[in-house]
Symmetry: C2
Subunit: 215 residues, 2 copies
DNA sequence: TAAGGAAGGTGATAGCTTCTAACCGGATCG
DNA sequence: CGATCCGGTTAGAAGCTATCACCTTCCTTA
């Protein structure tokens, strides 16, 4: 959201208005979900009349794509910050969980129901890859010296590190298990599928990650 | 979708039209997603003009709720069928996976992005509970005789069986782990978050369930 | 400094949507 | 047979996305 570093005053104004549009869009999404997002309503909230908003975003899809990009960026920043603070996988899980709980609809904008036919632009998938790199790095330590299991074969030689060396199958599998377990607990919790069951979702997540650590 | 057992011819006709409406709705959802579902378009496909459709569904939400109900019903039937055929948790996982792959948007109608403020009616949560009962029953066998872990404490005395006896913490935890792991892999796969990575998602699911079996 | 162009804002409008209202014809039921 | 209900119609209100033509204001450039 900090893109107000334009050179000319006009650029700064433009960036400012774009940021305000997105701000109001986030509020609508958080309270009513993406389908209810109305460009018209946002324009009125900003005190300008309908079509003015199209000077800043070509159409509804472009605004939503920008929001998705910001969501990914915020997500990747949260993951990276935890990683650089020395967090292990458990620490990363907590950071991601807190980030998701702060704004569930933002999490679902990334990991929720996909729109058939929609393909994220290149720069967004690049941000997603940043997260994967961190996950893989954080998965190196717990897998160090562990013997490869038969399941790891499928994951061997699927990906290379920054220096070109192959990521061991056990490491990639561990990272994917971490990711899918975290997402499994988190998304069902945020979607309310645990309501009525009395247990604390955090304890389920603890159990899932604990078992992952010992594998 | 088999609700055409009405008594009078009029009831049968009504049920028939309702079914046709839902049929076309499913096709729209499968190809374009829920937000693009248009009552107007459905009516025209059925050869009738717009407002006629409101004789069958009070509004858009009621149609979608009916679709959600049918999705849950179909899901529960698939799970129950596998269970009654003697499937263990692995078998249930395969049944659910196949059911989800047959129509990803139908899966996401149940487990995808939640609509803020929407609360499913009682009869739908009852269907969801049917599935939970099956999952718990299928989780009894693998947990029989296993010592309780510290993590199981949170899940003890949270739920009772049909006969009123309490579900052991280890069993509930096992069922929840099964559910969240399956959903974690499945939803990320169906949403396309594994595209570009070369591994087979089925192998990841195998690994996740195998590790669950040995816990 | 004056001129010109780009950028931002406006109202009007097309075309879509959901949904309500009023009305009409036919089937059903007492 | 008559009353009623049911399913369909057209008309229309209100909202949405998006485009168009036009106007003003600011910035740049000669």
């Amino acid at each position: 959201m900090t893109e107000a570093q334009g050179r000319s005053p006009r650029d700064r104004y433009r960036a400012q208005v774009r940021a305000e549009i997105k701000q109001h869009a986030w509020e609508q999404i958080a309270t009513q979900g993406v389908p209810a997002l109305s460009l018209n309503a946002i324009a009125k909230q900003l005190g300008m009349s309908g079509p003015a908003l199209y000077r800043y975003f070509a159409n509804r899809d472009e605004l939503i794509t920008a929001l998705i990009r910001d969501a990914y960026r915020s997500f990747a920043d949260a993951v990276r910050a935890a990683h650089e603070a020395g967090a292990d996988l458990a620490g990363l899980a907590h950071a991601i969980r807190d980030w998701a709980r702060a704004d569930p609809q933002r999490y679902f904008l990334i990991y929720g129901t996909p729109v058939p036919g929609y393909h994220a632009p290149e720069d967004i998938t690049a941000i997603a890859d940043e997260v994967m790199v961190v996950l893989l790095e954080a998965s190196e330590a717990p897998m160090a010296g562990k013997p490869a299991t038969p399941f790891d074969a499928e994951f061997a030689n699927r990906r290379t590190r920054a220096d070109g060396s192959p990521v061991p199958g056990a490491v990639l599998r561990h990272a994917m298990s971490f990711w899918t377990r975290l997402h499994g607990v988190l998304s069902l919790e945020l979607a309310g599928h645990f309501t009525g069951m009395e247990f604390d979702p955090d304890r389920l997540l603890d159990a899932e990650l604990h078992e992952l650590g010992t594998s």
